[in-house]
């Protein structure tokens, strides 16, 4: 009998649930949602691939390719936090249901080795001659 008041209130009140997916809730700004890479800013340092606990990211620094498996990802956002150029971004919306698996692949400009400076060359030459 103690529950009766509650049940009647629930019957006459608005439903507690939403008609998802027709009606969506405003996402929380801090939510760990889908990840994407702004590949133009990526230096292909592979730190995201090394830190990822599930191995969802693969980086080919020579070809300048960044590959990410959203179905292996656990959305822990370690890669986003440790990205040195902050080119990895995490949105506050989640990925919707999918009927098939796929890989996200982004290709950018691979990092070129820095050209040798004159000072660096002189130092190398000095080291070779033992002076």
């Amino acid at each position: 009998m103690y529950m009766l008041k509650n049940v009647l209130r629930n019957l006459s009140g608005r439903p507690a649930t939403r008609l998802y997916p027709l009606e969506d809730r405003e996402p929380f700004p801090a939510y760990r949602g889908r990840i994407h890479n702004v590949v133009e800013e990526c230096i292909f340092c592979s730190s995201c691939a090394r830190l990822c606990p599930t191995g969802a990211i693969a980086v080919d620094s020579r070809a300048g390719r960044w590959e990410y498996d959203p179905f292996l990802c656990v959305y822990c956002s370690v890669c986003v936090e440790k990205c040195p150029t902050k080119c990895l971004k995490q949105e506050c919306t989640h990925r919707t249901a999918s009927v098939g698996k796929f890989l996200v692949s982004r290709t950018g400009t691979p990092r070129v080795k820095k050209a040798k400076t004159e000072a660096g060359e002189r130092k190398a030459a000095a080291a070779e001659t033992g002076g």
């Binding site: 929380f28 606990p53 656990v74 959305y75």
Partner: protein, 359 residues
């Protein structure tokens, strides 16, 4: 003349969220023997410790259990920190308590709902889960995920709380407490609820100790035993009092969980109000070498971690003992002598978490 029959309970059963199989030997309607069978969800998570970096293992141990993931990670990180000889900063300790207690609230609310469902009180079940949604929202808005929070790292925590968030959290906590208090009379004084839970699955004070019960199962039998009393993380700075009941039946265990949920709301509120200012992480001095053990209080009872490192990136061995494993012998003691319709109520009264137990 009575006839003996064997009835399988589980692994698929309407009241069980996870696969646990119990062979019930019944004479007419009375259970005379219960034989458990486990191992349906074994995943080999402990052996992953040799293939993953000790920092990455935090995200693996979180996935041992969905409902108390933050507490698993908390225990693992504390064990590694002990081995490395570092202590997480004070603010991180408080934040760990806040997220752990939020997990305890939503775990207990989930259990109270499931328990009501076990004796057929559907409207209470839905009401508890509706209240629980406030806590899930707090987790999502502060940690970024609803269930697997991924907040702990070895040496501290990864996210901070800003004053705006704290104010919003306090409002949400008030709503949660109001929702729980509204259900007090229904859950604790209702005639139907008392008839289905009082005097059922009795575990006496001595039996609870002898059979090695932990958590609310032990506290429901009159033992004042809670790992939080030892003051790990920031519990030493908070006003923590264990909830103890004397009767040892299903009703006493539900009372323990009900009042623990309310006490956890108070603990989170207190921790939020007394959050000290400090860094969130400390620098680690190297890789773990040696061995260490750590115990924390999960919603279901005592959680135990043993870790051994050899100075490398990967640990050598990890051993976890979860509370449900310790609570299975008491459960097998409670079942014989009960009626068959009471079996779901008694099984749920230990709050079985099979994924924790089997890993």
């Amino acid at each position: 003349m009575s006839r003996t029959t064997v009835i399988p309970f589980g692994p698929q059963h309407p009241v069980l969220p996870e696969p646990l199989h119990i062979r019930l030997v019944v004479e007419d309607e009375n259970v005379v023997q219960a034989v458990p069978q486990l191992g349906f969800v074994h995943r080999g998570l402990e052996s992953l410790v040799r293939t993953k970096d000790f920092n990455q293992m935090v995200f693996v141990v979180e996935r041992i259990c969905g409902i108390c993931s933050c507490i698993h990670a908390n225990c693992y990180c504390n064990a590694i920190e002990d081995m490395l000889g570092v202590t997480a900063p004070p603010r991180a300790q408080f934040l760990r308590v806040i997220w752990s207690e939020l997990h305890r609230i939503h775990s207990h609310l989930l259990w109270l709902g499931l328990f009501a469902d076990a004796f057929g009180f559907e409207s209470v079940f839905h009401q508890f889960w509706r209240v629980r949604e406030h806590v899930m929202d707090i987790c999502e808005a502060t940690a970024g995920n609803r269930v697997i929070l991924s907040i702990n790292v070895v040496g501290g925590v990864r996210r901070d709380l800003v004053p705006d968030q704290i104010r919003w959290m306090l409002v949400q906590l008030d709503e949660t407490e109001k929702g729980i208090r509204e259900l007090t009379k229904t859950m604790l004084n209702d005639y139907t609820v008392q008839e289905r839970t009082r005097g059922i699955g009795v575990l006496t004070r001595d039996e609870a100790r002898l059979l090695g019960a932990v958590g609310p199962t032990l506290r429901g039998s009159g033992w004042e035993c809670d790992e939080r009393m030892h003051g790990y993380a920031a519990y030493k700075d908070l006003n923590f009092v264990p909830v103890v009941e004397q009767d040892g039946d299903c009703y006493a265990r539900s009372r323990v969980r009900f009042y623990e949920a309310l006490h956890s709301v108070a603990l989170v509120r207190e921790a939020l109000n007394r959050l000290p200012e400090s860094e969130l992480t400390v620098k680690l001095p190297g890789n773990p070498d040696g061995e260490s053990v750590f115990r924390v209080e999960q919603p279901r009872g005592e959680l135990f971690y043993y870790v051994r490192g050899n100075g490398g990136k990967m640990l050598e061995r990890m051993r976890v003992r979860t509370p449900t494993f310790a609570n299975i012998p008491p459960l097998l003691h409670m079942l014989p002598g009960c009626k068959l319709p009471d079996v779901p109520v008694i099984v749920l009264s230990i709050d079985p978490c099979v994924s924790c137990t089997e890993r």
